[in-house]
Symmetry: C2
């Protein structure tokens, strides 16, 4: 069996159900690249409940490269966990591994957990119904500056909908986008596109450390 276990947004978000699965599993691969902030906390909580010898923290290359074949081979014989921060299938690419597992006849199971998508919307206090399409604001690359988030915002504003922006993270380079960085990028997009939808008086809500004690 191949389990996809969501760990939630802070180390104590682990659910009773997730804990059951983690305790019983033969091997646990922890996605170590979707988030930065909680790795150390999370290691402490895991070590309290789970035999450390069976836990591997793995990087993007491992989970998005050819190593998934190794995981499938193991999961055909034993109980293997891929553990992911947040809910396992929000904004991650692990769905590919699930599809390959199901194709190979290996049963899979998902343990849900708080995701930034619902927890973030919940934390704003706004109606979930009134959110349109979401988008990620990414760090500009040297040769590339996308105004895509601006277009999504424009389209949602026309419809009277809120927009949820995810902020980029580059775990390999230990870079996390801050709210002020994202705002600066949005203002720069406004300069390019010039539709007059963002100025310094625009109302936005910045969210940080959602799910942590100083949310």
């Amino acid at each position: 069996m191949l389990y996809f276990v969501g760990l939630g947004l802070s180390s104590k978000d682990i659910s009773l159900k997730a804990l059951d699965v983690l305790k019983r599993a033969d091997r646990i691969y922890v996605d170590n690249y979707t988030s930065l902030f909680m790795n150390s906390d999370f290691k402490v909580v895991l070590s309290e409940y789970v035999d450390q010898a069976k836990v591997s923290f793995v990087d993007r290359e491992f989970l998005e490269g050819e190593d998934y074949r190794r995981i499938l081979k193991e999961a055909a014989l034993r109980d293997i966990v891929i553990a992911v921060i947040g809910d396992p299938f929000i904004a991650t690419t692990h769905i590919f591994i699930r599809i390959e597992a199901e194709k190979a006849g290996i049963p899979t199971k998902v343990i849900h957990a708080p995701s930034i998508l619902s927890a973030g919307i919940s934390a704003t206090g706004l109606q979930a119904y009134k959110f349109g399409k979401s988008a990620t604001i990414v760090f500009p690359e040297e040769e590339f500056f996308s105004t895509y988030p601006y277009e999504v915002l424009y389209d949602n504003l026309l419809r009277g909908l809120h927009t949820f922006f995810f902020l980029d993270i580059k775990v390999e380079r230990s870079r996390l986008m801050r709210v002020e960085d994202a705002l600066k990028l949005l203002l720069r997009m406004e300069e390019f596109e010039n539709k007059g939808i963002i100025d310094l008086g625009a109302l936005g809500i910045g969210l940080g450390r959602i799910g942590s004690d100083n949310e």
Copy 2:
């Protein structure tokens, strides 16, 4: 302190953090009307960890009526929990109580949990980014049949976006809308609006019992 604790989608979705708060709280009001299916399971899990004498299961009238004043009075002096299935602020009206508490100078805290919004999107395997506005398909009343969900679907389809439909629940009448009921209603909306977006060959994904063992 007033805590809003998410219980998740099945009884074992309770997190370590939620359990800490529930154990320490002086009184726990459980929202008993947002969902039907898990109340009995949930009572069993709660009774394992929490002193039953301090737990009250309350109905919509209690949490949406004037009793919030009583809750605020208690929360000014002691640790009070409002426990809700799913994440506390997705599609519920408890945000009102939080705002009143903050106005009265009573500190509040949210414990996030899996919500049908993110768990449902996750369970489809589709990209969370590609969902537009969501809507609820409600049971038609005698004199009232709304085609609002159809309009939302139409608008999202025009823009190449998926639509997430919540299905109605009437806990007081023990009625849960099934996927086939929702599909019938969508086909009826098509008859009214006649934009040719839904026919028996349309692709949809029906989700049920998300978060439970037979998801």
